[in-house]
């Protein structure tokens, strides 16, 4: 069961104002946990669970003759998780709120510290947008402590990175959501692995880089061999081949880190991209 949170009693509630520009939080806040989230979010609840979320506080603001504003404050337990869930949906413009943010069509999302915040106006109006941005700034300012993004993200070259599209995640269903690899979990991803996928654009061509850090070298080796066997058996120990679309897929393993380039522009491009990344990994 979800819990109604009395004003001032839930510590998460302290990050949100009770009123903003005439929009008031008249209903009681509701607190959800990883089991009760499905009472509130039908469809995407599992996404937040995939990032180990701890608690969600939902507060709804209303103002007569204006769209309802829904504030969802997720305590993700760590900045790594908050960053990850934020990167699940990167559509929109950065509006400079929190440590990174997106705004599109009445939805403002940002992360800061161990928190992920989603502010949504049920209808986008000029006034609602103004209030969303103001509310976002207030909440971000109430969260005092910043957090570090996952260290894996630092491995990606920034050159030609499309927008800021690095998705950080743990499991293969999220990988497939962003870039379908295989229905089976051939890369042995799970809550103990850290993975990141970046989307690059070079001219009109797109290519993708996937990094996975495993909890041990043995699992990394098994994943590497499983990927070769299932996805690119023709490549064998070379770890590189030209796929049906004329582009190049390459995979390399270094200790606990697996690097894969999908849709590399040429054989050398795929190899060099991997080299650049592995140079940083000791």
């Amino acid at each position: 069961m979800s819990n109604h949170v009395g004003r001032g009693k839930g510590d998460l509630g302290a990050f949100l104002p009770k009123e903003i520009n005439g929009w008031e939080a008249k209903e009681q806040d509701v607190l959800y946990d990883p089991e009760t989230i499905f009472d509130y979010i039908d469809g995407a609840g599992e996404i937040y669970r995939a990032y180990n979320f701890q608690r969600l506080l939902a507060r709804h603001y209303t103002k007569e003759a204006n769209p309802r504003i829904i504030a969802d404050l997720f305590d993700m337990g760590s900045s790594k998780n908050a960053y990850g869930v934020f990167t699940h949906d990167l559509e929109g413009e950065d509006v400079g709120i929190g440590q990174d943010s997106t705004y599109k069509g009445g939805l403002l999302s940002f992360w800061k510290g161990r928190f992920f915040v989603s502010l949504y106006a049920e209808e986008e109006t000029e006034e609602a947008k103004k209030v969303l941005l103001l509310l976002g700034k207030k909440v971000a300012s109430a969260i005092k402590q910043e957090g570090d993004p996952p260290s894996l993200v630092a491995f990606f070259p920034l050159e030609n990175l499309k927008d800021k599209r690095i998705h950080f995640f743990y499991n293969h269903l999220i990988l497939n959501y962003h870039y379908f690899v295989a229905d089976e979990n051939i890369l042995l991803l799970g809550q103990e692995t850290e993975a990141a996928l970046a989307n690059y654009a070079q001219g009109k061509e797109m290519f993708y880089v996937l990094l996975v850090r495993y909890p041990g070298e043995e699992r990394a080796r098994n994943a590497y061999e499983g990927f070769i066997e299932t996805y690119m058996p023709e490549a064998g120990s070379s770890g590189i081949l030209q796929t049906e679309n004329g582009k190049w897929t390459a995979v390399r393993l270094k200790k606990d880190l697996l690097v894969i380039v999908f849709d590399g522009l040429s054989e050398s491009h795929a190899k060099n991209t991997i080299e650049r990344i592995l140079e940083q990994h000791e």
């Binding site: 979010i41 039908d42 999302s109 962003h178 996805y231």
Partner: protein, 297 residues
């Protein structure tokens, strides 16, 4: 026209969605003789006047649509006789609805169902409409007949929210069925004795959702006025038809074949692995009634 290039990613995706993937499955014995014994009938009915405004159905038109669909599905002459084939006066009836804030089953659909259940002779005290409270609801706890009604929508985790998925509220811990994008959802129909008790599946396509975005998986932008209702006694067949329409809408809207980010493989697996119903469109008898413009199937 050039043939579409099939890459290894396409191949792996198709393999996951094709009936072959279920060949190795266990439990091939049909779970429901009634459903699996023949070609399931699915009735799609549309009416241009089904909505008085966006997401607001016209109760009279909805009643008419449901009546016509049930009459056709069961080859009866009037709605009450048709409903008598589904429900007995002595039944305890649970109308399993869906209360998702942005896209619910709607009171209009719920009341249209309830009216006909009452017409059959079921007493009011033996009828309940519920979604998230079904496990605690005394009528649902004793229900001998269930009418399963929900809107069709794309779903962030399972690909599609349809009639198969609507019964998830009967389980104590929904997340236990979420593995592998809800692949084995059909199991819960067996585990919670829902196969025989579910007498009719109603997939509400008045305002289906064809794309999923945002923290609540919803945006009005990706909901359209299809003004349809699909019914069948086979939950897999009804979801299959609904999914085909949603996929067609996505092709129309996005101008290309854009696969759903999470494939709705639980529908195919409900057939090939769990024998809950039929997911092969060639084996489904689809009957179309009413308005045909932009029907997409």
């Amino acid at each position: 026209m050039a043939e579409k290039l099939v890459t290894r990613r396409d191949f792996l995706r198709m393999a996951a969605l094709s009936p072959i993937a279920g060949v190795f499955a266990t439990g091939m014995k049909p779970m429901n003789g009634q459903i699996s014994s023949g070609q399931p009938r699915v009735v799609l009915i549309r009416d241009q006047k089904a909505l008085v405004s966006f997401k607001k159905p016209d109760p009279e038109v909805v009643q008419y649509m449901l009546d016509e669909a049930v009459i056709k599905l069961l080859d009866e002459k009037n709605p009450v006789d048709a409903w008598k084939r589904l429900v007995k006066a002595s039944d305890i009836v649970g109308i399993k609805t869906n209360v998702m804030h942005y896209l619910p089953t709607t009171p209009e659909v719920e009341q249209a169902i309830k009216k006909r259940v009452l017409d059959v002779g079921v007493s009011e005290q033996n009828i309940s409409i519920d979604d998230r409270g079904v496990r605690r609801n005394p009528v649902f706890q004793k229900a001998t007949a269930i009418i399963n009604a929900r809107p069709a929508r794309t779903h962030h985790w399972s690909g599609m929210g349809g009639c198969i998925k609507n019964h998830i509220m009967f389980v104590p811990r929904a997340s236990a069925y979420h593995a592998d994008s809800c692949a084995d959802l059909a199991v819960l129909w067996k585990e919670f004795n829902l196969i025989e008790r579910t007498k009719l599946n109603i997939l509400v396509m008045l305002n289906p959702q064809f794309h999923t975005v945002g923290p609540h998986s919803y945006n009005d932008k990706y909901v359209w006025e299809y003004k349809g209702i699909i019914i069948s006694q086979d939950p897999v067949a009804v979801d299959t038809v609904g999914l085909m329409i949603i996929e067609a809408k996505r092709r129309e809207y996005f101008g290309k074949d854009l696969p759903m980010q999470t494939p709705a493989k639980h529908i195919r697996i409900a057939d090939t692995k769990h024998n809950l119903g039929v997911s092969d469109p060639k084996k489904i008898k689809l009957i179309k009634l009413g308005w045909k413009e932009d029907i997409l199937i």
